[in-house]
Amino acid sequence: MKILVPVKRVIDYNLKPRVKPDGSGIDLANTKMSMNPFDEIAVEEAIRLKEKGVATEVVAVSIGPAKAQETLRTALAMGADRAVLVETDEDIEPLAVAKILKAIAEEEGPGIVMLGKQAIDDDSNQTGQMLAALMGRPQGTFASKVEVEGDNVSVTREVDGGLETVKLSLPAIVTTDLRLNEPRYASLPNIMKAKKKPLDTKSPADYGVDCAPRLTTLKVEEPPVRQAGEMVGSVDELVAKLKEKGVVA
């Protein structure tokens, strides 16, 4: 069984994004970019399934600028077998990403497409669900445990009320949550090896997908800043302040 892992190049999660003064977006010039953290978890899970003998091949896909090659090389260094870059300088919305992924999945025929639950830049949390709808496949979103059992995959999901387990018929779409695994660091030899692994470059047009955006961003602003309040010197002082504010009886 093949596993397809879509990985997105995003701002590094340790950095605080800067809103452009003209309100047109986020200033990403000279900003450290990394693989979306949920996608690292997805790559890790796919590799573990391969190591367990459940999967035979792990293919990483990214849709984005030429630099997204670096993100794909990271996936290859972690242990993915090959990669596909769908190169574009446009911002591609989740619906169009899902359409491109559908076209690739139809070519590749993976048993599982393993995505992140959310990209930490657009915070959309949509792509996996959309891909599942477009392909008419089941979806196991926000996964904290994935077990392939014959023709099915059992997915434990992090939901508001606790942990829900569902059984999906394969092929299926899975999106990862934080507790699924702890991604490995690529070793130096594996980083060297990754440079020789195959990486195909394509364009959205190769898949015949119309990527025209459906949403127009009218402006991007900083959220209202919260002023730091005061430091209190003791628990007594804290209690007094809270009573004064009327938030405790």
């Binding site: 792509t127 829900e164 569902v166 430091m231 938030v247």
Partner: protein, 311 residues
């Protein structure tokens, strides 16, 4: 303009997240209908939804296939109903986030996720980059598919309406997925996302027993819900559904007390709209103090029992 709202419910009760979603739907300016999709206990939920102020009609889809809100079964039901509506809205709960994008793709619509406000008939604000930026976006799609950040909309009054309940049916079982089990975290406490007071603990709480010993009595004193940072959840102090943050739950209580939490941007994303924020952290430079109304830079193992005692 007419809007269909997906009711969030469990064990036969309408979840208050639905009420805020009704308010967001009403802001679009047209009629608001609510869809209750569920199993045998859905009729009671439909009756509750019918009483919500501002709701004009309730659609009840009662079928074993919808009992567990499986997206594979519920999304086609919704997509089938959307001929009669201009907008579909779901609360940005794990159920809403699971189902709505599936509906959007079926309708060939780009979803607007997690809206904070309605700015115009097709324009909305939404948080991006963990809430470090707020984007105003306008949709050009023929229909709208929206998830709603329920903490930023007032709740519609749960009483006062008397909408008719109309049975509807959809394709039912899609045969792609099945529900196996729910490991529900039993809690007598107020619900995290709607509580007036939240007491959250972080990595500094050491282990599950210490977390329980220190956080629970304080929460009990305040009638508060308990929350946690990702680090506390990852370390197994408490279960996943207590995580507050960018990728966990969003809370905006009257009072939020962060104990032994550093204040990473991903955590702040989930709680910085709280009215009053208190932070207890022994590191005076912890970022949490930059957004706290009251900061106490001290050892939590002394301060928390003392605070519990003095309230």
């Amino acid at each position: 303009m007419s809007a269909l709202v997906l009711a969030e419910h469990d064990s036969g009760k309408l979840n208050p997240a639905t009420l805020a979603t009704v308010t967001a739907a009403a802001a679009l300016g047209g009629a608001v209908h609510v869809l209750v999709a569920g199993g045998d206990d859905a009729a009671g939920v439909a009756d509750a939804a019918a009483k919500v102020a501002g709701v004009e009609k309730v659609l009840l889809a009662s079928d074993a296939a919808y009992a567990h809100q499986l997206a594979e079964n519920v999304a086609p039901l919704i997509a089938g109903l959307m001929d009669s509506y201009d907008a579909f809205l779901a609360p940005a709960t794990t159920t809403g986030k699971n189902v709505a994008p599936r509906v959007a793709a079926m309708l060939d619509v780009m979803q607007v996720s997690d809206i904070l406000s309605v700015e115009g008939p097709k324009s909305f604000t939404r948080p991006i980059y963990a809430g470090n930026a707020i984007a105003t976006v306008e949709s050009s799609d023929a229909k709208l598919v929206i998830t709603v950040r329920t903490t930023t909309f007032d709740k519609a009054a749960p009483e006062g309406g008397s909408a008719p309940v109309e049975p509807v049916s959809g394709p039912g079982e899609a045969g792609l997925s099945s529900f196996v089990s729910l490991e529900a975290s039993a809690s007598e406490r107020p619900d995290l996302t709607s509580a007036n007071v939240v007491v959250s603990g972080g990595r500094a709480l050491k282990d599950a027993a210490t977390f329980e010993q220190l956080i629970t009595p304080l929460a009990d004193k305040l009638g508060a819900a308990v929350g946690a940072s990702r680090a506390a959840v990852d370390a197994g102090y408490i279960s996943n559904d207590y995580q507050v943050g960018q990728t966990g739950k969003i809370v905006a209580p009257e009072l939020y007390i962060a104990i032994g939490i550093s204040g990473a941007i991903q955590h702040l994303a989930g709680m910085k709209d709280s009215k009053v924020i208190v932070a207890i952290n022994k590191d005076p430079d912890a970022p949490i103090f930059q957004i706290a109304d009251y900061g106490l830079a001290t050892d939590l193992f002394e301060a928390v029992p003392e605070l519990t005692g003095k309230l």
